[in-house]
């Protein structure tokens, strides 16, 4: 009954989406407010019905109703409750349902909080949202119905893939989808602007918060996924340049570029046509990501054998939306008015540079991800493009960007003073040189790469702080004045400081982890001691114990440093009987920002167990950086000037800065 209700709710949502796709557009054409306002009600009703459908699927999973195929294949009555819930989106059908739920959520948010939007713009935006929604409802209903029943219900389910039975599944996919799908809003705004043939700075002010919101979630989602892979897969890697990861990185890069170009558009009414293109590209890359992941088309150990109908269907959606929006762009973009002028050395120029490098870096990831696929289609040759390719292309493009990051905020709009900015960055440069010298001395002339890269990161962080010091007048004014200025500083300026510093922090983590990671891989018997990075790890023994739906072998390690006992670590290996598979549960010991990491391998006949022990210095910074970036985004989002509905402020921001 619940399954049928859920299915029916989804069909109703499709019907609503079809109405929302057409009626408001006609209303806008005929200038009929009543018809345009239909979009608002249908968007909210759609959210209600999709939420009901999703709730139905959650209920089926929670109550372990194995007469539903989706529950039977992905659940087990003994599975802990949290994984019964998260298992809802731990499979193809359920995750697509989550996708449309989030799409409907964003549509509903625009409907609920878009009261200050011009009526026809809101109608167009919601109509475009409904086009996307209709396509994906159809996709779910035709190829991936999560509510299918089995004629003779089995007594027990086949359990969820054990690797997914982790708290990471509760957080990572919803976050990632909030990011991916959130970019649909800027896409809809872009298409609506093209349809209306009108775009202005106000448009950018409406789009920016939505883009920022999506970007925050995508940043956190990617970081969370990376940390999950790090602790769950048992060999300590945190980024693999796997196509599925690239699929999430590409929209992030394009979205980051979009955030910055939207600033130019809002503040200076320039780069309009480019911003529209970026909005379209960002969501197109999100759709591409959905296609890559959902169709199983890539030569990836990720890809799972799915029937080709799904792949073809998503490919069709992809072609229609990307092709359609780009055609519309080619046709209408010339109708948009030219923006303001600016000199190459200016804040605008710096943001253009940022866009240039981000989109180029994004393009290299795109090529590396899709080239193997294209080659296979054309010649039949199979190749794999892995980390070496991306290290040789992505990294060199990111370095100049990092050098440029501290300069951007210090340049004035319209016409900047590069020399002046450089003078103000002298302190940051000195901090970077000191860091390089100290590290160089400390590593006794080892590889020059790591000290230089960390020096660059220090430059980025110090540059962000310089920006803050300049704006508050710290060191130049009495402390009380600086504090008062700091309080008065717009939150978006604080956001910039945190986000830029976050980039530097992440870089330090990445460089430290890859350069000074130490590892011990070998076999150990009880009472054996392994030495790594000054730590002593003693294997005390191995014990067996049972979990709710698995058995596990736990190894007890005692960790000591300089003969003093620090802590215990208990890595384990779990065997899940239903799926006849095993997972490795790594044990982590955090010391500052560094971590000790133990994971287990196979047990040999003589009782020795294979172990992998890593010491990963500063590894936590890799994820702390993105958290800082997201926090910066959040601060910026809370800036009242950016909040939807806030009236356009008088031109005051310059007055808050130090007079120069």
């Amino acid at each position: 009954m619940i399954a049928e209700a859920g299915h029916y709710a989804l069909v109703l949502a499709l019907a609503l989406a079809l109405i929302q796709s057409t009626v408001p557009v006609l209303g806008a054409r005929w200038r009929d407010p009543a018809l345009m306002n239909v979009a608002r009600s249908t968007a909210l009703a759609q959210l209600l019905f999709v939420a009901a459908s999703f709730a139905a699927l959650v209920t089926l999973h929670v109550t372990s109703d194995f007469s539903v195929v989706n529950v039977f294949e992905n659940s087990h009555s003994l599975k802990p409750m949290i994984y019964k819930i998260t298992g809802v989106w731990g499979n193809h059908e359920g995750s697509m349902l989550l996708w449309v739920l989030i799409l409907a959520l964003f549509g509903g948010l625009v409907a609920a909080f878009g009261n200050n939007l011009p009526l026809s713009l809101r109608a167009h935006v919601l109509a475009v949202q409904a086009w996307i929604a209709s396509a994906f409802y159809l996709f779910i209903l035709i190829t991936s119905n999560p509510f299918l029943r089995i004629a003779n219900p089995p007594l027990e389910g086949r359990d969820l893939n054990p690797v997914l039975q982790d708290i990471g599944l509760a957080v990572h996919p919803p976050m990632l989808y909030l990011g991916y799908v959130g970019f649909s809003i800027s896409f809809s705004f872009a298409v609506a602007a093209l349809l209306e043939g009108r775009i202005d700075a106000a448009w950018a002010r409406w789009v920016r918060p939505w883009t920022l919101l999506a970007w925050i979630f995508l940043t956190l989602g990617i970081a969370m996924g990376s940390y999950w892979a790090y602790y769950e897969l048992g060999w300590g890697g945190w980024w693999f340049w796997d196509p599925v990861e690239n699929a999430s990185l590409m929209p992030w890069l394009a979205g980051t570029a979009l955030l910055h170009s939207a600033v130019v558009m809002e503040k200076r009414n320039a780069l309009k046509v480019w911003t529209i293109l970026l909005s379209i590209l960002t969501f197109s890359l999100s759709l591409l990501g959905t296609f890559l992941v959902r169709s199983g088309v890539l030569t990836s150990v990720h890809a799972f054998a799915t029937d080709p109908t799904r792949g073809v269907f998503i490919l069709l959606i992809l072609c229609v939306f990307i092709g359609g929006s780009l055609t519309l762009y080619a046709w209408r973009a010339s109708a948009l008015k030219q923006g303001g002028l600016f000199a190459p050395i200016s804040r605008e120029g710096a943001l253009v540079l940022n866009n240039l490098f981000l989109t180029t870096a994004c393009a290299t990831v795109f090529i590396g991800t899709l080239y193997p696929l294209a080659l296979e289609v054309v010649t039949g040759d199979k190749i794999s493009v892995g980390a070496p390719f991306f290290n040789l292309t992505f990294a060199p493009l990111f370095l100049p960007l990092m050098i440029a990051v501290p300069f951007g905020p210090l340049l004035a709009w319209k016409r900047g003073d590069l020399l002046g900015a450089a003078q103000r960055l002298v302190a940051a440069g000195i901090a970077a040189l000191i860091a390089i010298a100290v590290l160089w001395a400390w590593t006794r002339g080892g590889s020059a790469f790591a000290p230089l890269a960390i020096g660059l990161a220090v430059f980025v962080i110090a540059g962000a702080l310089t920006d803050l010091a300049e704006r508050t007048g710290l060191f130049r004014m009495p402390l009380t004045t600086a504090l008062r200025r700091a309080r008065g500083l717009p939150r978006s300026s604080w956001g910039t400081v945190f986000a830029h510093a976050g980039v530097g922090v992440a870089l330090i983590g990445i460089v430290c982890e890859t350069t000074w990671n130490s590892e011990y891989i070998g076999t150990m018997k009880p009472n054996d001691i392994a030495h790594i990075a000054g730590y002593e790890l003693k294997l005390d023994g191995l014990t067996q114990r049972g979990g709710p739906n698995y058995r596990e072998m736990v190894a007890q390690f005692t960790v000591s440093l300089d003969g003093k006992r620090l802590s215990d670590m208990t890595p384990s290996k779990r065997s899940f009987t239903t799926r006849q598979s095993t997972t490795t549960e790594a044990a982590l010991l955090t010391r500052g920002a560094s971590q000790l990491y133990i994971s287990l391998g196979d047990t040999a006949a003589d009782g020795a167990i294979a172990v992998r022990i890593y010491h990963k210095p500063m590894v936590l910074l890799i994820w702390f950086g993105p958290v800082l970036m997201a926090f910066g985004g959040l601060l910026s989002l809370s800036d009242r000037r950016l909040r939807v509905g806030a009236p356009k402020p008088a031109d005051v921001p310059r007055g808050l800065q130090a007079a120069e």
Binding site: S95, P173, E232, E245, A247, V293, K382, I521, T582
Partner: protein, 172 residues
């Protein structure tokens, strides 16, 4: 500067960055791309020792031998030919005899494939795409490798959906 000069500066700058990117990509394409091969293709083509490639196939039953210090040897076959593989390190959780595997490394002069990365398929319904395609091409595809339950839907290794990367064993 006039509008025209400014625009030219912008376009010039963009083209310069793009040219650098293209150079980087072409350079990386030459050096860091790894081809995929099967044991029978290796036998036919005489790949030179030391050239890196990915080897895919099924782990031959009864061929897995554990040596000292985590050294393992096993044979990878595709029904026509087999190739001995040597690896040092911890094999992935899902590595099993009779099932699909992809190993990355190079042949040594004696004709043994020295792998430094071993990837295993990651649940009972999934086989690496390379391996499945190669086996299909050679007519060794057995339906039960990709067996679908008769109610029509595949059970997916849904981790792919969540962006958690491959199951991998790597040794340094």
């Amino acid at each position: 500067m006039t509008r025209r000069q400014r625009r030219l500066t912008l376009i010039g700058g963009s083209l310069a960055v793009l040219a650098v990117a293209v150079a980087l990509v072409l350079n990386a394409m030459r050096d860091s791309i790894v081809f995929f091969s099967t044991p029978s293709a290796v036998a036919e083509k005489h790949i030179t020792a030391g050239r890196r490639f990915r080897l895919g196939g099924l782990v031959e039953r009864g061929s897995l031998v554990h040596g000292d210090n985590l050294a393992v040897t096993f044979k990878v076959g595709d029904g026509t030919a087999t190739l001995p593989v040597a690896y040092k390190g911890i094999l992935p959780d899902l590595f099993r005899e009779g099932q699909g595997v992809v190993a990355e490394g190079a042949l040594d002069p004696s004709g043994v494939f020295r792998a430094d990365i071993v990837l295993a398929k990651h649940d009972e319904t999934y086989m690496p795409k390379d391996v499945a395609d190669a086996l299909k091409k050679q007519g060794h595809w057995k339906d039960d490798y990709g067996a679908k339950p008769d109610y029509g839907k595949t059970a997916g290794a849904a981790r792919a959906a969540q962006g958690v990367p491959l199951v991998q064993g790597a040794s340094q």
